[in-house]
């Protein structure tokens, strides 16, 4: 039975047969090649600002054992989590309000769009004068980076919930709260999660930029410090950590997304 099925599928899909390179996992190979090239060029060129990968990794190990990386990473993650949590909560509330009530959208729409497209870091000096030189300003910068994309996506997600589903729910006696919780939010979840995914990426950027501008805590501060010492291996070592944080945060959101939106048919999934 299964042999028959196999036979069938190979015959039915000749397009599946691809050249052998197609089946290689591209990402690891590509990363390994990149690492090798980095090492080689770093060794051969001998430029102080481009140390080979091995030197960078050694420096990273140093920083890790001295605890510098760990404490800075912890500080950064606190900034990130605080800022992202605020963005998520405020973004969902504002987005739902904008998506549900035309007047709220009329009142806030333009400003949210403007703040989404504007370079968020210009607000850093303002936060600096409002909140002082501390964690509060960094968190505010993170919120500035992450919140608006969540608002916009949530609002348009709510607006594109099919009217007939809402009508169906009302015909079965659902109240405003039930319509929101049982129909609108689940229906809007895939698109909201797309916004959250973009938001988390922007939050990491906001965290680093904020920490570099208000250099009191975190990975952003030690990048700046290493730069000040002309310690290029240190800069690159922290950069590796930052990339790991960014990819990790996005992967986490994607995992949550996949759990929440399992019902979406494969074919209609957005491919970002």
């Amino acid at each position: 039975m299964s042999a028959l099925a196999d036979h069938h599928s190979t015959r039915a899909a000749p397009a599946r047969k691809r050249p052998s390179w197609r089946r290689l996992p591209a990402a690891p190979i590509s990363l390994a090649a990149g690492a090798a090239a980095w090492e080689l060029i770093g060794q051969l060129a001998g430029m102080s600002f481009f140390p080979p990968l091995s030197t960078v990794l050694a420096r990273l190990a140093d920083m890790a054992t001295s605890g510098l990386i760990v404490t800075s990473l912890a500080d950064s993650l606190v900034n990130l989590i605080l800022g992202f949590a605020i963005s998520l909560a405020a973004g969902l509330v504002a987005g739902v309000a904008m998506g549900r009530y035309r007047k709220v959208e009329a009142a806030l729409g333009v400003y949210v769009y403007a703040l989404l497209t504007a370079p968020s870091l210009v607000f850093a000096p303002i936060f600096f004068s409002l909140l002082g030189e501390g964690r509060g300003s960094i968190v505010a910068v993170v919120v500035m980076y992450a919140m608006f994309v969540i608002i916009i996506n949530t609002a348009s997600a709510i607006q594109s919930v099919p009217v007939h589903l809402v009508e169906m729910a009302r015909s079965y006696g659902a109240g405003e709260r039930q319509v929101l919780l049982r129909v609108m939010l689940p229906a809007a979840a895939p698109m909201i999660m797309a916004g959250v995914r973009l938001g988390v990426g922007r939050a990491v950027t906001g965290m680093i930029n904020g920490e570099m501008f208000i250099a009191v805590v975190g990975l952003g501060r030690i990048v700046t410090q290493a730069g000040g010492r002309f310690d290029s291996a240190g800069v690159l070592a922290v950069l590796l950590v930052i990339i790991a944080v960014a990819l990790g945060a996005v992967a986490l959101v994607q995992a949550v997304d996949r759990r929440i939106t399992r019902w979406v048919p494969r074919t209609t999934r957005g491919n970002q």
């Binding site: 390179w21 591209a26 990402a27 190979i29 590509s30 990363l31 090649a33 990149g34 430029m47 102080s48 600002f49 481009f50 007047k103 959208e105 009329a106 009142a107 806030l108 729409g109 333009v110 400003y111 403007a114 497209t117 504007a118 370079p119 968020s120 870091l121 210009v122 850093a124 000096p125 303002i126 600096f128 004068s129 409002l130 990426g201 990491v204 950027t205 965290m207 680093i208 930029n209 570099m212 501008f213 990975l219 952003g220 990048v223 700046t224 290493a226 730069g227 000040g228 002309f230 290029s232 800069v235 690159l236 922290v238 950069l239 930052i242 990339i243 960014a246 990819l247 996005v250 970002q272």
Partner: protein, 275 residues
């Protein structure tokens, strides 16, 4: 036959000015702005101190700045990096994206790096730039380029990739050469997405410029911000930020307008799903 029913009796028209106004967004936008400005004014008067100017002081300072030579000099210097960096991003990024879109093998291996570039906070490489290229125009231009090029590449690639393969087959069946396929099918089909990439690239280039000024070398606008902050000239500090914001929004709207003008045909002929 159904069409006949659509052409029924004329519906009554009621030009109700009040209703129309309530339906439009402008009054609500003005209301939001007024509440924001009044809140700012009250807060700054009550608890502002030396560091937080009132709304009116900021408006006055912005007007004053717009008349000062110092600001325009700073604008000129900052925008040099913006224009050069963005120009390079387009000139290099569009062909790179098109090549990636057409040659799948290359794309498969470049994909990881594009993804990493998309999520990595680029500002962290600033110290390396300073070590290698120094504090001059070159490092500022490079930073703006790095900021904007990813958007241009990714969207150009998407544009080429989303061209309907059956159109290419169609062109082949009519005997089109590879060159003709490029100029008649692939490039026109990819144009809307490329324009989207350029528009998003403008936004990122402006961001790059601001980051150069605030985190890298505060030569121009960033220098003004530092100077006003040091001297506790809060209204002028806020005024500078207002002007930078205004420039950013202006550039982005111009880019959006240009995108719409250049790709108007695309709205009906191709699906515009490149974000």
């Amino acid at each position: 036959m159904t069409a006949a029913f659509r052409a029924g009796p004329r519906p009554a028209r009621r030009p109700d000015v009040l209703r129309r106004l309530a339906g439009a967004s402008l009054p609500y936008q003005l209301l939001t702005f007024t509440v924001f400005a009044a809140g700012w004014e009250l807060y700054a008067r009550g608890w502002g101190g030396l560091l937080i100017p009132t709304f009116t002081e900021t408006v006055a300072a912005t007007v004053e700045l717009l008349g000062s030579a110092e600001l325009w000099r700073a604008m000129y210097v900052s925008n040099q990096a913006l224009v050069l960096g963005f120009g390079i991003a387009v000139v290099v990024g569009v062909p790179a994206g098109i090549v990636l879109g057409r040659f799948r093998l290359l794309e498969r291996f470049a994909d990881v790096y594009l993804n990493i570039l998309l999520v990595t906070p680029m500002a962290a490489i600033i110290p390396l730039l300073m070590m290698s290229v120094g504090f001059g125009l070159a490092s500022r231009v490079i930073l703006v380029t790095i900021f904007s090029i990813v958007m241009v590449v990714v969207n150009s690639r998407t544009g080429v990739r989303q061209v309907d393969p059956s159109l290419i087959e169609m062109a082949r069946s009519f005997g089109a050469s590879e060159r003709q396929i490029w100029t008649r099918v692939l490039l026109p089909g990819a144009l809307p997405a490329i324009m989207t990439g350029i528009r998003l690239g403008v936004g990122r280039a402006v961001t790059g410029m601001v980051i150069v000024e605030l985190l890298m070398v505060s030569t121009a606008l960033g220098g003004l911000i530092l100077e006003y902050r040091g001297l506790f000239k809060a209204p002028l500090l806020y005024g500078t930020i207002v002007i930078i914001l205004a420039e950013a929004l202006l550039l982005i709207s111009v880019a959006r307008w240009g995108e719409r003008r250049l790709t108007r045909w695309a709205q009906t002929t191709t699906a515009r799903n490149a974000r």
